[in-house]
Amino acid sequence: MATTRRQGTGTAAGRGPAALVARLPRPHRTSAPLFAWLMVLPTVVVLLAVTIYPLIYSLRESFYRIELSFSPIPHWVGLQNYVDAFTHDPRFWPAMGRSFYLVGLGVAIELILGFALALVLNRLGRARTVVTALLLVPVMIAPVAVAIEGVVIFNNSWGPLDYLLAQIGVHGPVWLGDRSVALNSILLADVWQWTPFVAIIIAAGLRTLPEEQYEAAAVDGAGRWQLFRTMTLPLLQPLIIVTVLIRAMDIFKTFDTIYVMTGGGPGSATETASFYTYLQGLQFFSFGYAAAISYIQLIVITVVATLLVRRMRKGLG
């Protein structure tokens, strides 16, 4: 490496970053790897402490029966917690189904609305900055505050939503108390909060697209839809995939909104996998089982995300 740098210095003729690096005192350059390790060490330590260690610790816990409401002594059960989740727990898989319903519908709606909003945003000219700042407001609100707002907005007796609907002669559904509607009300709150995030990311991506290629394609007679399908979508592919992944993982973990707005009810209508895991771990203190179902979720979401990325690459490309 040192040789390469010295060669670089010669060709740069004393100018540019390579020349600056070459001018560093010799002892510093030879100890650079150690120095670099020292610089990243705090991050590595923090990562080991707050991510890797808990990950390994919880994996170990998932092989034990730990019922802290009864006894602090763990019992080795091997894969039994995993077997129970697959064969003996009537609540876990329906909860997973609800999580995937939220992810599937939520990501699709946020992506479509976000794309539309981004296209509008990029045509606003000078007003774009102000509108972008306003769009950021829901993103900056804590999910628990959004949920409390949701409880007020969706209240059937005195909530503003039902009032406004009544003004146009529409009788609103029982937003949080009807099992066929409640999960969609949670979804609505999520869409309200996170669509602007998707819009802002995509708007930023749209601004980086090369105008010349569009002009050339337009000269060749390409229509708007053709331009969008054959150029915009493929060019934005990496951005869309990242956005979808971030939102999918985020929606899968949704907890605050459900906790505040419905508590998992009515019935089990809004009991998602993350909410159920919370119940097992922090309400019932069945730590071993909670760890096992967390790992199952991790594996399932990783597999689904990988398949999704592959499918999107193929579709968009």
């Binding site: 802290l68 409401s69 009864f70 007796s157 009515p266 209508a269 119940l279 019932f284 203190f285 069945s286």
Partner: protein, 468 residues
């Protein structure tokens, strides 16, 4: 509520001249947030005079168990005094999280013999030791709009429709009938006035968390209890299924459409804001109902025993005793003396004020608190009626599950009740699933040990007359 307002509210009670001095110790209290934490604010001048700095950690109502348990498991000494629901005393005391109070009680008497027997025996002790002092005695009471019940036009209309006199419902069947009778659409008349919005005959606690207790009010009056002596669940018996069907009918035919989103606040407000005719609620709601700053129906409420079930030609009524609050000192507390002083002060010295003010949700738990003159928000006759009813519902109280795992058993039952009232499952299937879930929980926690603990709990229930 601002601290100044809390201190102003208790101004009729002077700060004692002589108080112990704890020399600037900081006592950290953890309990459910909201109006029930006001009790620590009322007595702030006393804490200051006694050299105690108060640090309060408020946690959500439904999370008291999980937050306090997490603190106990972590084994820190960050919390000195915990407020919790006594159903968890078996869990907390048997795991060694709490400090036994026997020696403190000997030194500074909190007059536990004045505590209503059921609360004294169920709330405070475990395995022969006292671990907690009472703060709130919870039991369900039946509350209705007496102005509407006694209205001649309504009386006449009821008689014409059902060929019997309109009275306070005696059975859960009557409850449905009266509820359906008073359910009206906007534009219809109620007590001679045209309604501008719908009015409902009844309302239930429909939210996940405690809806099971409103089912248990109905079911317990059949004479059954959670498990038999061998830990076989009784919650899927024909009587239990009939009770749940009654609750489902109440939700579907005479409750507000969003009743499945009703917790304590919404259920209270539905009565106090003139939306419903009758509710079953905790005994603090009449205090708030009598306070015209919080209620639109002050002076218009009547109180009664809960409806019951005819068993062998005899009317049996039971009132669930869900929640309740006790004060206990954590095992690792470094300020146990100061914490005991606070607990004893709240539980005993100033308890009359705490349970009679409408500014908190605490309910009477001492015999000496059951005197009408303390309940100043009520008209004297209403106060007498309220307290007589409180005594009555306590005589017919029905306890929670006082063994470890209570949170899991109650959650499984609550899920079943909630599935049934939301129409997700038929009551019979929902309760059958809950019974299976209870068996799984018992097996998971150790059936032999749980059976032993349950038999002890049954003995205790019987000794205080809660199980006949």
């Amino acid at each position: 509520m601002p601290l100044k307002a809390m201190i102003a509210a208790r101004k009729s009670i002077p700060v004692p001249k002589h108080l112990p001095n704890f020399h600037g110790q900081t006592v950290t209290v953890m309990g459910d947030g909201g109006h029930n934490m006001n009790v620590f604010g009322f007595w702030m001048p006393e804490w200051k005079k006694a050299g105690i700095n108060l640090k309060a950690i408020e946690v959500p109502f439904a999370d008291v168990y999980s937050k306090e348990k997490a603190e106990f498991i972590a084994g820190t000494s960050a919390v000195d005094l915990v407020v919790f629901y006594p159903a968890y005393i078996g869990d907390f005391a048997s795991n060694g999280y709490l400090l036994p109070l026997d020696s403190y009680i000997k030194k500074d008497n909190p007059h536990l013999n004045d505590v209503i027997t059921a609360f004294r025996k169920l709330y405070l002790g475990w395995a022969g030791h006292t671990y907690a002092l009472p703060e709130d005695g919870d039991v369900h009471i039946f509350i209705y709009r007496k102005d509407l019940l006694n209205n001649p036009a309504e009386q006449k209309a009821f008689k014409a429709k059902y060929h019997k006199k309109l009275t306070v419902p005696k059975t859960w069947g009557d409850y449905l009938r009266v509820g359906q009778f008073f359910t009206r659409r906007a534009g219809q008349k109620l007590a001679g006035k045209t309604l501008t919005r719908p009015f409902y005959g009844c309302a239930e606690y429909g939210q996940r968390g405690f809806s099971w207790a409103w089912f248990a009010d109905r079911w317990a009056s059949s004479g059954q209890v959670y498990f038999d002596r061998n830990m076989k669940p009784e919650i899927d018996s024909p009587q239990a299924i009939a009770a749940l069907r009654n609750m489902v009918a109440a939700v579907k035919t005479c409750s507000p459409p969003d009743v499945l989103n009703f917790g304590y606040d919404q259920l209270r407000d539905s009565l106090l804001k003139k939306q419903t005719f009758m509710v079953v609620q905790w005994t603090d709601v009449p205090k708030k109902g009598a306070d015209s700053s919080q209620s639109e129906v002050a002076g218009k409420l009547g109180y009664a025993l809960l409806p019951g079930t005819m068993v062998g030609g005899k009317l049996i009524t039971r009132s669930m005793m869900p929640v309740g609050r006790v004060l206990a000192i954590t095992k690792n507390s470094k300020h146990a003396d100061a914490a005991y002083f606070m607990a004893k002060y709240i539980s005993d010295t100033v308890s009359r004020f705490n349970v009679s003010t409408p500014l908190d949700g605490l309910d009477p738990y001492r015999y000496s608190q059951l005197k009408p003159q303390y309940y100043k928000e009520f008209k004297p006759a209403d106060a007498r009626s309220y307290l007589a009813t409180v005594k009555g519902v306590l005589e017919h109280g029905f306890p929670e599950i006082y063994i470890p795992g209570a949170a899991q058993y109650e959650d499984a039952l609550d899920l079943a009740v909630n599935k049934a009232i939301s129409g997700q499952e038929d009551p019979a299937k929902a309760l059958h699933d809950a019974a299976n879930a209870w068996n799984d929980i018992t097996d998971k926690l150790d059936r032999k040990h749980q059976t032993e603990l349950w038999r002890n709990a049954l003995k205790q229930y019987k000794s205080v007359g809660l199980i006949k």
